[in-house]
């Protein structure tokens, strides 16, 4: 299977600071890849670069073989890349259902005039959008919360809703930014099986940032380790966790040696 996402020599500078420095790695199609590293290693910056929130200083990002550097974020989303956020960003005052319904917008084609006058195509497609949103909610098991304001959802479900909202775009590549943050071991385990299930059911490729090592080690086929914006190591869970550079980054140097 080919690589869905190829990042080469990616660099992002904020003034004199290189938040991401000459990083290259790839994400195979239908794979689950983990991105780990200490705080400030540049993980979220890489997500922001992939989704077009930041403009790269140099380097290339190929998605499906096409360069996506310099595209507007919404165009990148159109191509099939979407994400969740480390600090949850839902449409807080909207109901759970409306959050998902809003995100379904790409599945309809009707234009503004058709909306304003409620022409037949508006009615037909709007019906499909509603059906799609309902279906997503029920697949992900949050139908019972559909009328609740997103802000009032329990924390774990807010994270789940963010994933559902991302799925509403029919993405090919899903970027998860610390999906297990603040979850207890039980919830983390549920999340792990959910991520694996999503990949198969929605035919997704997943790139995940996480600090919970058991989650990363458990489901990722490949792990990329960053520190201070530089790639330290890349490989399977075993090779990465035995890499001396990685151990040093997480545990520090041994003084005696």
């Amino acid at each position: 299977m080919g690589d869905l996402l190829q990042i080469s020599n990616l660099t992002k500078r904020f003034g004199g600071l290189a938040a991401v420095n000459d990083v290259s790695f790839s994400v195979p199609e239908h794979g689950i890849v983990g991105l780990i590293g200490p705080n400030g290693a540049g993980k979220t910056t890489i997500f922001n670069l992939i989704t077009g929130v930041y403009a790269a200083t140099s380097g290339t990002i190929l998605f499906n073989g096409q360069s996506i550097v310099g595209l507007e974020p919404y165009r990148i989303a159109d191509k099939g890349i979407t994400r969740t956020f480390q600090n949850i960003r839902l449409f807080k005052n909207l109901s759970v259902f409306d959050n998902v319904l809003t995100a379904c917008h790409r599945s309809a084609q009707y234009n503004l005039l058709e909306s304003a006058l409620r022409l037949p195509r508006y009615r037909k497609e709007e019906k499909n959008l509603h059906a799609k949103a309902e279906e997503l909610l029920s697949i992900m098991g949050i139908s019972q919360w559909r009328d609740l304001e997103a802000d009032n959802l329990p924390y774990g479900l807010q994270r789940r809703l963010e994933i559902v909202r991302a799925l509403a775009l029919d993405p090919k590549l899903l970027l998860l930014d610390e999906p297990a943050a603040g979850m207890n071991p039980d919830e983390t385990e549920q999340l792990m099986s959910l991520i694996a299930r999503l990949r198969d059911e929605f035919n997704l490729t997943i790139l995940v940032i996480e600090h919970h090592m058991d989650l990363i080690m458990g489901i990722c086929e490949k792990i990329v380790v960053l520190n201070f914006g530089v790639k330290l190591a890349e490989g399977t869970a075993d090779t990465v966790s035995n890499n001396p550079l990685v151990i040093e980054a997480y545990l520090g140097k041994t003084e005696a040696s």
Binding site: V53, L90, K92, E126, L169
Partner: protein, 304 residues
């Protein structure tokens, strides 16, 4: 009558401020453009040499289109500005339009422009109001409208959800400007006299106050707000010189007791009421089930 005219402008501003989250203090400028262009179409050449003497509906279309075009041009320049800066830019725009009109002598400059035909009859205004409400309602309940709301709620999340944030803001601004322009045309043909002073910043502020008073993100709130706040100063004539003080006090009291405005995101329609009910019920269920899971996990803890 004036309430019905104000309502059109308020509805437009409501889309921009209430649903898209952009504050504008320059909507009187769009109204002015609509009013002057509309009047130019209908004024008979005998009273004003540049007048075209065309029917009223041509004036409405031309006034709305001119204001929409102005909105588009202003949007191109200013919509990349964040929050407060956009607001200041619109304020500057509104004032600029007024000052330009002050100096355009073919429209009488600051002395004013008399002789505009009286066309804004009550039925005409009512029809326009109904059309304005229905169209706005439809837009808000479409994918385009939902995208605007998403932009208001969380811009970054909207972007990665594939929403063209700039485009959504632009659409909202242009529609909003067209509404203000059409309101301007009706205003011109109600007053039969135009003066740049009528479109000063206080007019823009008045519109914004009405939208906030009625409640951001609520069409029925904007309707109520426009009716109440346009009528209130007239009702308060009994207070003589104190009436504007009482008016101000009334607005302040409402805003303190209902910080989200009269309606605040809620619609006064059967489906709107159903939605509030559903939300309330959902919240109860949520509370109950969270308590239940807490109990359950306590139980497990006890056994262990």
């Amino acid at each position: 009558m004036l309430a019905g005219i104000n309502l059109i402008a308020v509805l437009g501003l409501s889309l921009l401020t209430g649903f898209t989250g952009l504050f504008s203090f320059g909507h009187a400028g769009f109204m002015a453009i609509g009013a002057y262009v509309g009047a130019l179409m209908t004024v008979s050449p005998t009273t004003t040499p540049s007048g075209l003497g065309l029917p009223f509906f041509v004036g409405i279309i031309a006034g709305g289109a001119a204001a929409g075009l102005a909105g588009y041009l202003i949007g191109r320049i200013t919509l990349n500005l964040k929050g407060d800066y956009f607001c200041i830019a619109t304020l500057g725009f509104g004032e600029a339009i007024r000052l330009i009109l002050n100096n355009v002598q073919i429209f009488g400059g600051s002395r004013g422009w008399p002789g505009i035909p009286y066309k804004s009859s009550l039925p005409a205004i009512l029809i326009a109001d109904v059309v304005a409400v229905v169209v706005l309602w439809n837009i808000v309940h479409s994918r385009q409208g939902r995208n605007m709301i998403a932009v208001r709620e969380e811009e970054l999340a909207a972007q990665v959800t594939g929403i063209n944030v700039f485009g959504s803001k632009m659409t909202a601004l242009v529609i909003s400007a067209v509404y203000a322009g059409v309101a301007g045309v009706f205003f011109a043909h109600y007053m039969t006299f135009l003066q740049p002073k009528m479109f000063a910043m206080s007019k823009s502020t008045e519109l914004t106050i009405i939208v906030i008073f009625g409640g951001l993100g609520s069409i029925s709130g904007s309707v109520l707000g426009a009716l109440l706040l346009t009528a209130l100063p007239e009702v308060l004539r009994a207070f003589d010189i104190w009436r504007l003080v009482v008016y101000g006090a009334a607005v302040i009291i409402i805003m303190i007791s209902r910080p989200k405005g009269l309606m605040g995101g809620v619609e006064l329609t059967p489906s709107g009421i159903r939605k509030v009910r559903a939300e309330r019920k959902a919240r109860q269920i949520a509370k109950a089930s969270i308590l239940a899971t807490d109990d359950a996990s306590d139980g497990v803890g006890g056994e262990a």
